[in-house]
C-alpha cells in the first residue's frame, strides 16, 4: 500500500471519529452557561487552530532539516504540511468569527491571537505561491525552506507585538500553569477533538505527501 493510500485510510478513520466528537459535543456535553450554544464551536475551532499551528511548526522544522541534510523528503513533507495547514487555518478563520459575532458582538477584532492566525494563513498562502513560482526543484526546495524558517521566527514577533498592542481573546484554559478550568465533560470532548484533528492532519499530510512523491517519481526518477 502506498503512503497516499494509507493516508486515505487514516483520514477516513479520523473522519468517523470526527462525527463521534460532533455527536458528543452537541448531545452529551453540557451547554456553557453564558455563551450558550455558540460555545460548541470551540470543539472545532480550537483543535483546528492547534492543527494549523502544528502544521506551521512542522513546516519550519522540516525546512531546517532539509537545509541541513538536503533530503528532498523533508521538502515534500514541508510542502504537504503547508497545504494541509492552509485548510486548517481556513477552518479556524471561519469558525472564529461565527463564534465571535454572538459572544463579542463583532465578527473580527485585531486581537493578538486573531492577528497571529490571520498572518499564519497569509504565510501558508505565500509559501505555496512561492513554490508555484519557482520551476527548478532544488531552487524551489531551498527558497521555500528559507521562507518556512523565517515564518516560524516571525510568528512569535507578531504575537508579541500585537499582544503589546491590545488583546481581547479568551485566555488559555487548557494549557496553563494551574489545572485546566474546564469541567471534566467539556475537557474530554475538547481533548478528543484535539486527538481527532491531529489524526486528520496526519491523514491529510500522508495523502498530499504520497501524491507528491508519486508525481516526483513519475517526473524525475525519485527526487
Amino acid at each position: 500500500m502506498t503512503i497516499a493510500q494509507r493516508g486515505r485510510w487514516v483520514s477516513l478513520v479520523a473522519l468517523i471519529f470526527l462525527a463521534g466528537v460532533y455527536v458528543r459535543a452537541l448531545v452529551f456535553t453540557p451547554e456553557e452557561r453564558t455563551q450558550g450554544l455558540a460555545q460548541k464551536i470551540f470543539y472545532v475551532h480550537v483543535p483546528a487552530a492547534w492543527s494549523a499551528m502544528l502544521a506551521m511548526g512542522l513546516v519550519g522544522l522540516a525546512s531546517i532539516l532539509f537545509l541541513m541534510m538536503k533530503d528532498y523528503r523533508y521538502d515534500r513533507f514541508a510542502a504537504a504540511s503547508a497545504e494541509v495547514g492552509t485548510a486548517f487555518s481556513l477552518v479556524m478563520l471561519t469558525t472564529g468569527p461565527i463564534w465571535a459575532k454572538p459572544v463579542w458582538g463583532t465578527w473580527w477584532t485585531w486581537d493578538a491571537r486573531l492577528t497571529l492566525t490571520l498572518f499564519l494563513f497569509f504565510l501558508f498562502v505565500g509559501y505555496q505561491l512561492l513554490r508555484g513560482a519557482v520551476n527548478e526543484t532544488s531552487l524551489r526546495a531551498r527558497y521555500s525552506a528559507v521562507l518556512g524558517i523565517c515564518g516560524l521566527v516571525l510568528l512569535p514577533f507578531i504575537h508579541l507585538s500585537v499582544y503589546l498592542f491590545r488583546t481581547l481573546h479568551p485566555m488559555p484554559i487548557v494549557l496553563k500553569p494551574s489545572a485546566p478550568s474546564l469541567p471534566p465533560s467539556m475537557l474530554i470532548t475538547l481533548l478528543s477533538s484535539f486527538a481527532v484533528f491531529t489524526l486528520l492532519y496526519i491523514g491529510f499530510v500522508m495523502q498530499v505527501y504520497g501524491a507528491a512523491a508519486a508525481r516526483d517519481a513519475a517526473v524525475g526518477g525519485g527526487r
Binding site: 537545509l67 492577528t115 498572518f119 497569509f122 504565510l123 498562502v125 505565500g126 505561491l129 512561492l130 513560482a133 519557482v134 531552487l139 531551498r142 527558497y143 525552506a145 528559507v146 521562507l147 524558517i149 523565517c150 515564518g151 521566527v153 516571525l154 514577533f157 507578531i158 508579541l160 507585538s161 500585537v162 503589546l164 498592542f165
Partner: protein, 223 residues
Amino acid sequence: MLRHAWVIARKDLLLEFRSRTAFVSATVFAALVLTVFEFGRDPTAVATSDLAPSILWVTFTFAGMLALNRAFQLELENQALDALLVAPISRTSLYWAKLVANCIFVGVVEAIALPLFVLFFDVPVGGILLPLIGVIALATVGFIAVGTLFSAMVSRTRFAELMLPVLLLPFLVPPLIGAVQVTAQLLAGRPLSEGEGWLRLLAAYDVAFLTLATLLFPTTVNE
C-alpha cells in the same frame, strides 16, 4: 568581509545615483503616496495628528518595497549575479553589501519623504527629530534585513514584483506596529522612554532577522 561588502554596496549605489531612475521613481512615489493620503481622509472628521504616524509608515513601507524589488533585479541583467558569485567573495559579504546598499537607498528616500511629510501635514517634529530618526533607522534596518533576503529569492521567480509584497508584508507587521506606536508617542510629546518596550521589540527583531538572513542567504544563491 566588510571591505568586500562595502565595495559591492558602493558599486550598487554609484549605479543607482548615476542612472537616478530607480531613485527618482522611489522618491516621487513616496511623495505621491503622501498626497494620496491627504485626499484619502476626511480632514474635518479625522485629525492629522491621529493619522500622521500611520501615514508616515505606510509611505515608508511602500517606498521601501519598491526599492527592494530592484536590488537583485539589477544583477539579473547580463548575468551580473553569476559574475558576482564567481568572484572570490563570501556569500555573506554579498548579503551585507546588498543590505547596506538597500539601507542607504531607502534611507535617502526617507530623508526626502520626512520633510515632505512634515510640510504636507504640518506635523511639529522640531524637538523630537533625533529620537524620531533613531526609531526610523531601527525599524528600517529590520525590514530591509528580511526584504533583502526575500528580494534575492523572488528575483528569480515568476511575477517577482508581485511576489515580494505578498511574502514580505507579513514580515513588516512587527516593525510597523512598533514604529507607529513609538512615532505616535513622540508626536504626542511624550518622552522616548515611554516606548521602551516597543524599542526593545524593534531591536530584538533587528537582531533576530539580521542573524537569520545572514545565515540563510547563502542557500538562496548557491548553485
